[in-house]
Symmetry: C2
Subunit: 167 residues, 2 copies
């Protein structure tokens, strides 16, 4: 029995809820999956192990996991909710590559402190926060650079130099 599972069962008992095979399975799959997953993702993964589990149950259990403090809901702005491990996982923020979709997790105590300071300035009691940085990751930048170099070599007649860039 992992620590997470204990947390889950304690939460369930405390709330007068019941332990079921579906919840066990969903928790297992959640714990076995690194990184972020949407409700849909988890449903798909669970279905592979037991196709009889309904999506309703997955969504409801995901909320249960969040209540229990095992999962954290993150929204990246694509309209769907994503979940990530929250138990004994330090808070972190995300850099999202708009090219390849890769997500880099990072943590900056300075950023956290500065946000606390801003909140204090507005007498705002901070509950949580979400920082999402969108851009191009190192890999995709390298690829773009290589591609550009190849183009520049090949195209001698290269008259039209379109303004790229983005602000």
């Amino acid at each position: 029995m992992t620590e997470e599972q204990e947390v889950f069962y304690q939460h369930i008992q405390k709330k007068g809820l019941k332990r079921t095979a579906q919840r066990d399975l969903i928790l297992d799959v959640f714990l076995d999956t690194e990184g972020h997953m949407s409700g849909e993702d988890l449903y798909r993964l669970v279905s592979e192990k037991d196709p009889t589990v309904g999506q309703t149950t997955v969504y409801r259990t995901l909320r249960l996991l969040t209540d229990a403090g095992l999962a954290r809901e993150v929204r990246f702005g694509d309209g769907r909710a994503h979940y990530e491990h929250n138990y004994k996982h330090q808070h972190h923020d995300h850099m999202i590559c708009s090219d390849c979709g890769k997500i880099i997790e990072f943590y900056s105590p300075e950023l956290e402190a500065l946000q606390d300071a801003m909140a204090a300035k507005y007498k705002f009691e901070l509950t949580s926060h979400l920082l999402r940085m969108i851009g191009i990751c190192a890999d995709c930048r390298r690829k773009a650079r290589d591609q550009k170099r190849a183009t520049e070599k090949g195209v001698t007649v290269g008259s039209t130099v379109s303004a790229s860039g983005r602000g």
Copy 2:
């Protein structure tokens, strides 16, 4: 003709698109509205002035405004897209009161700088970013405090003090 309108028409001409009464109206309503609005909100506002305009057109025009640099899409995590003025409006971040829904806009050059530094550390080329701070605003904190004080004083036999709240 405002500056924004000029920007819009120039964008339209540059792209070989057409100026229509609907787009004019939608732009006007958008410019007249302060703060954030969702696609739906704008559709409702436009409908008041001209009920024949379809929601499709509103959504499409909103994207057009974004392309033209007049609007900025912001997502607060409720699943719908919100838009705010972007032309000659400094970038800013948001504090969202989870009690009353109020949105406080703020700007912190230190935060921006720190984010740039974090991006550089990961060789990440930053395109844009979104910082959302969720908590309780000063007003709601005061209300909660007052209510708590009243409860502590008044309720000796403390029978039915229904928890109100949630707006």
